[in-house]
């Protein structure tokens, strides 16, 4: 082993810690001095620093709570353009109105569980029917979503979840006024977020409540429908 290699070997662990920004004291000074005079270690430090940066990037993207953009732009003093969610809501309402105008007879035709996790399930053209009831989904005093039950030739239900504990496969159930629990479908949420629609196994007028549970049966959110 050459003198240079032996000298570099003294800084093996310190280079990683320097790249991570956690090296302190005289070791930090000594390692920095060595790197300045050693192109090989300087290159290794650069690569390790890129890896350290990448570790921070491993965290998943998560949609901030409702209203985050509005509050942020106010704090920044930036004029507020329509938020994505406002645009999305307007689009959904417009699409719903257009679909309703198509009339009856097409069948519900919702895609179940085929969308990417955490994204709104795409509704193929179908009669939306009449909104029979709607409510917010709650968990522990916190609003975590909404539920809409539609009547018509083929009753169906639409749910959205945001900032909830849901991740991965989750189950939607409804409880009828007679107390029976009926399975509606299983869906996928991502980091607390998801939207979907599915045919209802019972008449929407007969539903007392809706709930979202994990595959192990843990309650994620519930709503009392009125």
């Amino acid at each position: 082993m050459s003198d240079t290699t032996q000298h570099c070997a003294q800084f093996t662990d310190d280079l990683a810690e320097l790249a991570l920004g956690i090296l302190t004291g005289h070791r930090r000074g000594a390692t920095l001095a060595h790197v300045e005079s050693c192109p090989r270690c300087a290159e290794e430090l650069e690569q390790l620093a890129r890896a350290s940066d990448a570790a921070l990037q491993s965290a998943p993207d998560i949609e901030p709570p409702m209203g985050f953009e509005v509050r942020l732009f106010e704090a920044m003093g930036v004029r507020q353009p329509p938020t994505r969610r406002h645009v999305a809501t307007r689009w959904i309402l417009a699409a719903a109105a257009a679909v309703t105008a198509l009339g009856v007879g097409l069948g519900v035709g919702l895609s179940q569980g085929s969308s990417p996790p955490g994204q709104t399930t795409v509704l193929r053209p179908s009669p939306l029917g009449t909104l029979v009831s709607s409510s917010d989904l709650w968990k522990g005093g916190k609003r975590v979503g909404s539920v809409f039950a539609y009547g018509g030739p083929t009753p169906w239900i639409f749910m959205t979840l945001s900032d909830s504990a849901a991740h991965g496969k989750i189950i939607c159930e409804v409880v009828t006024k007679s107390g029976a629990t009926r399975w509606v479908g299983d869906f996928t949420a991502k980091s607390g977020y998801g939207s979907w629609g599915a045919p209802l196994p019972v008449a929407p007028q007969d539903i007392r409540s809706a709930k979202v549970v994990s595959v192990s049966g843990t309650l994620i959110a519930s709503a009392t429908l009125t």
Binding site: D13, E17, G21, I22, L48, A51, A55, S58, P60
Partner: protein, 191 residues
């Protein structure tokens, strides 16, 4: 970033000049990443929202001093977020997300195979894959150091392991992540 439109650097340059449209585009590009990092570190939505807001305001205010020679915009923004999150956790004496849970939330985002990630130049996915392949003790040490800013000494004390073991775990884990990152870079730089 994967989405089209102006580069991060161009948006930051616009923000430095006070361009509000650039600020809006930047916020919409980064808010999920910033909030995602803060939430993954704290498991607390309200703390994460405060941190994310403060981080993006700092980016807006300090855009003129961003130096591209010192790293990417993404690294800059996420480092600001990480440091603010660590400060928030300290100020509130709050319990941070367990490193194992942080790594688990990152790994839950694995949806594609690594070969696709390399071909698409997806560093994030490659790092998640590399993280998932680390022995649990190395993964924990890397997350504690790279995300929570713990020194080797602090990791040694928290984990109840010798200092030399903590250093080895940090270094070994980081080298594995480096291999993943350099694999993507090699594809990006190939003619």
């Amino acid at each position: 970033m994967a989405d089209s439109g102006p580069t991060d650097e161009a948006l930051l340059a616009g923000m430095a000049l006070g361009d509000q449209a650039a600020a809006v585009a930047f916020v919409r590009r980064y808010q999920r990443r910033v909030f995602g990092l803060a939430y993954s570190m704290t498991s607390d939505s309200s703390v994460a929202e405060e941190v994310a807001q403060e981080a993006l305001i700092r980016v807006w205010r300090h855009a003129p001093v961003f130096d591209a020679r010192r790293g990417s915009v993404t690294s800059w923004v996420l480092t600001i977020t990480r440091n603010l999150t660590i400060d928030a956790l300290r100020m509130r004496r709050a319990v941070p997300t367990d490193p194992a849970d942080f790594a688990a939330s990152a790994m839950m985002s694995l949806e594609h195979n690594p070969e696709d990630a390399v071909r698409r130049g997806d560093v994030r996915l490659m790092v998640r894959t590399a993280l998932s392949g680390l022995p649990p003790e190395q993964r924990r040490a890397v997350v504690l150091a790279a995300v929570y800013g713990r020194t080797a000494m602090e990791i040694s004390e928290e984990e109840g392991i010798p200092l030399g073991t903590a250093k080895t775990r940090i270094r070994s884990g980081l080298i594995r992540l480096r291999a993943a990152v350099e694999q993507v870079r090699a594809v990006e730089e190939a003619p």
